[in-house]
Symmetry: C2
Subunit: 382 residues, 2 copies
């Protein structure tokens, strides 16, 4: 096995000039500055040359200023740390703020990693159920009911999580209402902004979050895995508490997290990321236009109407009907799109699929629409 390793060298990602509509990918495409940064800082532990004890205190490159001054302003928090990603930030907050055996209340559309983080921290999860199709809405008042439900079972509610927006439908639950409920009930609210921080102008204060989580690779044009966690001084004293055995190191971070190039890509992209959040309304408008056109072709947008995010979930009985008799069966859609250099809809899906229009020029989106139109018109229905 160890004699035949050349296959692991020179692997290519995909054809150039392709259009990628995968929601996982759109917000993580590097800026030209970040592409320069990643090559410059690619080697191993490259940011640690001038470390004096912690990642966030490195002056050269200016990680200290970025993490201690700039990101807190951006996230409207007192303190920020860099994490390995959104899920790792959520785990750190849950593990630090909750006692084992307590319960976390989370929206029914939460990313699966919210459940994993809770389980790994020894916590139970009380869901705020999402409604039926086509909207799959989470009612913010549901947080009050879920907290009461859990307490009615004798459980201690240690935290609430709101996924803003969720990663399935791109739904945006009113965070202020959730926040007011949580404040009234004395439950800290953590907002998972993996699909908002770096896309939308959001911050902990305006959302009413006690802890805000972001994802570098999902929405901050950074090379993954990387994320951010921001919080108040009060909660920071617990989440970022120092170790008792190694007193100058932060326990929950295991000392340091992003000891490599990823943090430099986040920094290099950051000026552009700040600018792009100011153009969010245009992205929403574009997504609505795209969804409208898709609707005319028989693909029905699910989730919020009007839609408020580039992440879109479609259902399509037409494509499903075609797949029943098409060559390659349910893989026909993936193949047909691939032929046209369009990627990002998971192989095998036809009846329902997700995509994102984020930062794609309208001309590219028109090519995507033409592709769907062609595919539908050229294939006989079952």
């Amino acid at each position: 096995m160890l004699d035949n390793l050349d296959k692991f060298k020179c692997l290519k990602r995909g054809p150039s000039g392709a259009i990628n509509i995968d929601p996982l990918q759109r917000g993580g495409v590097l800026t030209p500055e970040a592409r320069e940064a990643i090559l410059e800082w690619a080697d191993g532990y490259s940011v640690c040359d001038f470390c004096t004890g912690s990642l966030e205190s490195i002056d050269s490159p200016p990680i200290r200023e970025f993490v201690q001054d700039v990101l807190p302003e951006f996230l409207e928090t007192d303190q920020v740390r860099i994490t390995h990603g959104a899920r790792e930030g959520i785990f750190a907050a849950m593990h630090a703020l909750c006692e084992r055996g307590e319960t976390v209340v989370a929206d029914g559309n939460a990313h699966y990693t919210t459940l994993l983080a809770a389980e790994l921290a020894g916590l139970k999860v009380e869901p705020v159920p999402a409604g039926q199709e086509p909207h799959y809405r989470v009612d913010p008042q549901g947080y009050e009911e879920a907290i009461e439900r859990a307490r009615g079972k004798g459980e201690v509610v240690g935290m609430a999580v709101l996924t803003y927006p969720d990663g399935n439908y791109g739904n945006l639950v009113d965070p202020r209402t959730v926040s007011e409920i949580c404040r009234r009930e004395g439950v800290p609210l953590i907002i998972n902004g993996a699909y908002s921080v770096g896309r939308m102008a959001v911050g902990a204060k305006s959302l009413g979050a006690d802890v805000i989580i972001g994802s570098g690779h999902k929405s901050m044009a950074s090379s993954g895995p990387i994320g951010v966690i921001g919080t108040s001084d009060e909660l920071a004293a617990m989440i970022f508490r120092r170790s008792q055995l190694v007193p100058h190191k932060e326990l929950e971070m295991l000392g340091c997290t992003l000891r490599g190039a990823g943090i430099l890509t986040m920094m290099a992209s950051f000026p552009a990321v700040v600018e792009r959040t100011k153009l969010w309304d245009e992205e929403v408008e574009k997504a609505r236009w795209f969804a409208g056109e898709m609707g005319k072709l028989g693909m029905d947008l699910q989730g919020d109407r009007p839609h408020g995010h580039d992440l879109m979930f479609f259902k399509s009985e037409i494509l499903y009907e075609i797949s029943k008799t098409a060559k390659k069966g349910r893989y026909f859609l993936y193949r047909e799109l691939k032929k046209r250099k369009i990627f990002g809809i998971k192989p095998g899906l036809t009846r329902q699929f997700k995509l994102s229009s984020y930062l794609l020029p309208r001309d590219d989106l028109k090519m995507v629409l033409s592709a769907f139109e062609e595919i539908v018109s050229h294939h006989p229905k079952a």
Copy 2:
């Protein structure tokens, strides 16, 4: 603050043509193949396009084959997972295999992150003390005494950790003796090979480890942070157990870890990494030669004699004496080396410092030796 962000773009790492002797950096320098890979796979979540549920099952790029077939052979284990780094792997193993309140026995030269991982997992640490200078040796028999000592206090010993080699002195404790003691005492042994896996031909079976940990950015020519954890099927069933709430995801990994370019750099470098482990004896010989020459200049190698690793810790009364009256005081050594484009000894250190000769040509090391010789001869002692 958010108006003046251009400083975060176009940051440079250091002058070209410099010699870097930082032990953190030597084993993490990317191969040319890995430099190609990082640019190709730099964007966000770039490896997740063809994911069917977990990082380790991705066929394109061939992560499945690399993690499920190749790495287990390399590490002599049944199963391997990719982690965010050595410390995160150690935490996962401790958290999964030990109950809160138990005790971990660890060598006195262990990296500080071993203590953090134990503390974060709710465990106590019973050290196997290192001896006095100049050798700082950890006696493998000390593991038996430490286990007995802990048990004498009524503690349950859940795990033993051996750092092989340690990151301060590059000392190599006989792992087979430690392993036999642990087996006899019924304590699983985890070997932290952050400075051996990828440098030396080591594997769990030959070392006698139940769990083996490696670091991509320290010793596998990978862009950090990234690491590996390997173990038997028996322990894998616990460390890599599935979530109860999300049954197809591994709990301790929070689903997936290295969802980005780092894993592709590890794969691209791997053929060269396998080859370089075969040349380890030459690296040791070179380190011994270098340490001998340093000795002639008044810098005394600490740790194992004969030395068995490229990581070297020196003490130098001469440089310390010079620093007392030198311009820039204790920063003079850093400045003098920097003038000669030699980096990697921490600013401010003179009386004792670490460096590594790993993969440096002898000509570069001769330039380092000349630099020290010049610095000593040109400066008056206090």
